[in-house]
Amino acid sequence: MEQAEVVVAVINSTMSILVLFIWFLFSISTYAAVLEKDRADVLYHSYDGGGMKIDGPAILLRKKASESVALSAYYYVDTISSASVDVMSTASPYSEERIEGQLGIEYLHDKTMMAMSVRQSDEDDYLAKSVNFNISQDTFGDLTNLSLGIAFSDNKIRRNGDDLFAEESQQYRIRAGISQILTKDLIIALNVESVADEGYLNNPYRTVRYIDTSVPAGVGYQSEVYPNTRNSFSTKLSASYYLPYRAALFLQYRYFSDSWQIDANDIELSYRHPFGKTVELELKVRYYQQSQASFYSDLFPYQDAQNFLARDKELSDFDDITLGVGVTYLIPKQFSISDWHSEASIQWDYITFNYNNFKDPTAEAAVGEEPLYGFSTHVIRAFFSVYF
């Protein structure tokens, strides 16, 4: 079956399910839920590691327009200065800016929440526009929450310095989830999401390397070639547990697989502990591991060695570990504006990446004999939240 037909069939099936779901939800409501509080968040983020420095601001606003409708707006900037190992092996350091914006609306009817958002991400060489729809429902005495969602994204890809280059890709997402209160201290949730991409999925700048005995360096480079489709399925199981001395423990595990033969697992444990009425401490540890794409190689034996070629380290076999700590200060009322509750937070993550089949091409060694690559990065988020 053609992919376009499959996508149409999927959208039709999804819409049928959603209509059935909505009809069912509206027919069983007994008493109403409420929208979350109005809030504003201002954030500064920074990522520094592996030759990349990315930072910038972000703002998130959320305001109820009535008892049943809430509006939200999100603005985010990445200022990127890159001299990563990819860039240093075949190109020059560069800098660029990415601006992302999102507008959302939520509608609450009894226990049914519907949310829709539109998003745009804009860079010199990449423009992504997407639309996202979710519906969720509290049921079974509000012990269970069911959710469904779909999203579509349209991406335009360009290559700086090449005005003739113009490619595009599309992404379709469908997701479902169930969250269940098991005891007065424990909630568990199961979420699944399928993502299908079609179109130009390469990075337009990245090259693969191959053994070339005709040149003194012994190595040649050619552009990456990726398949035009990628389909993936992700399953996440999570649990939140309230500890007897007022602290919270969170555990989540995700399994991912895709049509490029990448399998990935990640597990995260985090712990939140309040000190008095003004301070909350958060600790996090996360482990991620993935296998490589079927068409990935660190060094191909010759030019055009296979139909599809990749040397993106994100498609290689690797693992990473995150250690994180965060502190939130709940600002006492006497220091708040107009009696609005406000908080100041800072979070720091230290992530170590270990690549098992990606060698450092900038190292002084014979081709293919370089040491394996790895790097560490510091990720910082400092933000201020006001509830009004």
Binding site: V7, T144, Q171, I174, S194, F233, Y242, I262, R381, F383
Partner: protein, 81 residues
Amino acid sequence: MVAKYFTRAIFVVFTISILGLTGCAQPIEPWVKPYERQHLADPIMRTNRHPIANMHVAHVYEARESARGTDGTGGGGCGCN
């Protein structure tokens, strides 16, 4: 291959929907009463306690890792790798 992945997704969606539908028809009483949920309602139990930070965390991992989906964001692309 595409059909296989979507068939799986739709199967799971249907299963969860049917579970929800039939679960409500069962004579099982909700066993945690509304007045017993003060622990679960405590702000420290909220996974989305800091939504703006969670969006950044998801963005960092999606740019550096191949896995995607079920990260709590709506998705949408960027040329971020």
